[in-house]
Amino acid sequence: MATLHTRSAARLMIAPSVLLLLAWMIVPLALTIYFSLLRYNLLMPGMEEFAGLTNYTYFLTDPAFFQAIFNTLAIVIGVLFITVVGGIALALLLDQQMFGQGIVRILVIAPFLIMPTVAALVWKNMFMNPVNGLFAWLAKLVGLQPFDFLANAPLFSIILIVAWQWLPFATLILLTALQSLDEEQKEAAQMDGAGAWSRFVYLVLPHLSRAITVVILIQTIFLLSVFAEILVTTNGGPGTQSTNLTFLVYAQALLQFDVGGASAGGIIAVILANIVAFFLMRMIGKTLEA
């Protein structure tokens, strides 16, 4: 982009995509804001009328809303914790020389390639089912009462399922970062008298910090909107125990046919996501700059 001429030519060239993307974002956003200000219920077609901020007050005072906020954060933090810690551990293991390394690595990546609905159904019916599930069978094998995961610990079960799906992603990113660690640095640390644990703390972890940041950022974006896993396993229940914000909006719109309320919920979700993003960027933006 050296000259004025090339710069304006470049602007002209990217203009169509920018306009398209802008329309793609602005139109739904504008419509959602518009709907959120209407009394708009699918069961009463043609009865739409301006309702002011009633939808917002209604949504924000719903007890399910606070439960949903808590659940959303619990899922994000829980899954992040499991995937980052587990990812580092798995990456360290996979970095070792071993027999069948290639096959093992592919197997580890596999869960990431499975669709969320399928993965959740497999967990629900094959692992966590209190009658036929693998966990129930294991419990019975040692003489314990089978535990009904999805009924008794719905949020934990969902965190477990989602973490299982995202673990390969974290492992993969961290493994590649691990492999870029200079061999001579490790040897230098060895000469300097650092044991395995010291090398991990002083050398490996700081080296991985940027990759961990990337994992946290990308996963947070997707984890704020976990939906399929909830829909096919617990349906947000029992009660609202496993309802997150995404699911609450869905329930409002498509189970209660309240488009206005759901739109208000959607706007609130957008605002909350931006708040999270703001803090996240401030917290870890520094690591990425360095």
Binding site: Q185, E187, A188, Q190, M191, D192, G193, Y202, S209
Partner: protein, 333 residues
């Protein structure tokens, strides 16, 4: 203190013996240089001494103790790596302090030792910078600083100057030599550059294909090479090798004459030839002469010897300085 003895040390990777068997004595306070072409096993040998590789057979004795099975940190050695291997996220201060911290030293003691090392190496102003904010030479000095704070029995250098530009390399060469004068600690230095070996070493170990070809002081190797390999490797430009009738005249299979030991004349001499390329360095001129019936010879003459491409010259070897070798390439004395 820092004497190192290798007894029968060998290293085998799979079926390939990188180092068949080596015996070597390094005395306390010596500056020893391992030199050889790439792939000759010199770095492997250094890593065996450091403990970064396990020996396949033999013993490594450091300061009278058998350290063959000890981990690197317990051998009392420090190493400076080719890539410097500084810890990128730590400041210069923490980098230098790292080995002391690992040894569990007192905070005050660490601070003092780091300050001392920084003063010796002119790093005091850079202590709070990160390695990436330093130039190549400064990084090199940090790596050396990290090595000296431990006060090791011996220092190991693995081609430490190969990432620096030519001018800086000459400077650092000098600084490392001065450091050796100051510390008087044993140093083992690996390089493929015979100039570094000649200028720095008390003792040079010439390696080729995992074998020691010759051990000796720089001038020993220069004046009395044991074999063709050492003769060709030490000295720059390379020694000229001549076989055939001219060699037979000296009762040898091959004779070697260094470029600086050829006397040039424009009207008489033993061998006649035409000048191919003349490289003028100012002080000296390197002449590549196509000698009749012998081949290309390199000669080193004074800078004011005026010749150019295509001139006819006569060369005469200095008879006192002709090296003679038998069919196996060993020196005849």
């Amino acid at each position: 203190m820092g004497s190192i003895t290798l007894k029968n040390v060998s290293k085998v990777f799979g079926a390939h013996a990188v180092i068949p068997s080596i015996d070597l004595d390094i005395h306390d306070g010596e500056f020893v240089v391992f030199v050889g072409p790439s792939g000759c096993g010199k770095s492997t040998l250094l890593r065996l001494i450091a403990g970064l590789e396990d020996v396949s057979d033999g013993e490594i004795i450091i300061d009278g103790k058998n350290t063959t099975d000890l981990p690197p940190a317990k051998r009392g050695l420090s190493m400076v790596f080719q890539s410097y291997a500084l810890y990128p996220h730590m400041s210069v201060r923490s980098n230098i302090a790292f080995p002391l911290k690992m040894a569990g030293e007192d905070k005050a003691v660490i601070d003092k030792k780091v300050e001392d090392a920084a003063r010796v190496l002119n790093l005091t102003d850079y202590l709070d910078r990160k390695p990436r904010q330093l130039s190549g030479g400064q990084r090199q000095r940090v790596a050396i600083g990290r090595a000296i704070v431990r006060q090791p029995e011996a220092f190991l250098f693995d081609e430490p100057l190969s990432n620096l530009d030519a001018a800086l390399r000459v400077n650092m060469r000098l600084e490392i030599s001065q450091l050796h004068q100051q510390l008087k600690t044993t140093m083992i230095y690996v390089t493929h550059d015979q100039v570094e070996a000649m200028t720095m070493a008390d003792k040079i170990v010439v390696l080729n294909r995992g074998r020691i070809e010759q051990v000796g002081s720089p001038l020993d190797l220069y004046h009395k090479p044991d074999n063709l390999f050492v003769a060709g490797f030490i000295g720059s430009p390379k020694m000229n090798f001549i076989s055939g009738a001219s060699a037979a005249a000296h009762q040898a299979h091959t004779i070697g004459v260094r470029p600086e030991h050829l006397v040039l004349s424009k009207d008489q001499g033993s061998w006649r030839g035409t000048v191919g390329v003349a490289e003028h360095l100012g002080s000296d001129t390197f002449l590549h002469v196509n000698a009749d019936g012998i081949g290309t010879l390199t000669a080193r003459v004074s800078g004011d010897f005026a010749v150019t491409h295509g001139d006819q010259v006569f060369l005469t070897p200095d008879p006192q300085r002709v090296h003679r070798f038998d069919e196996k390439g060993m020196a005849i004395r």
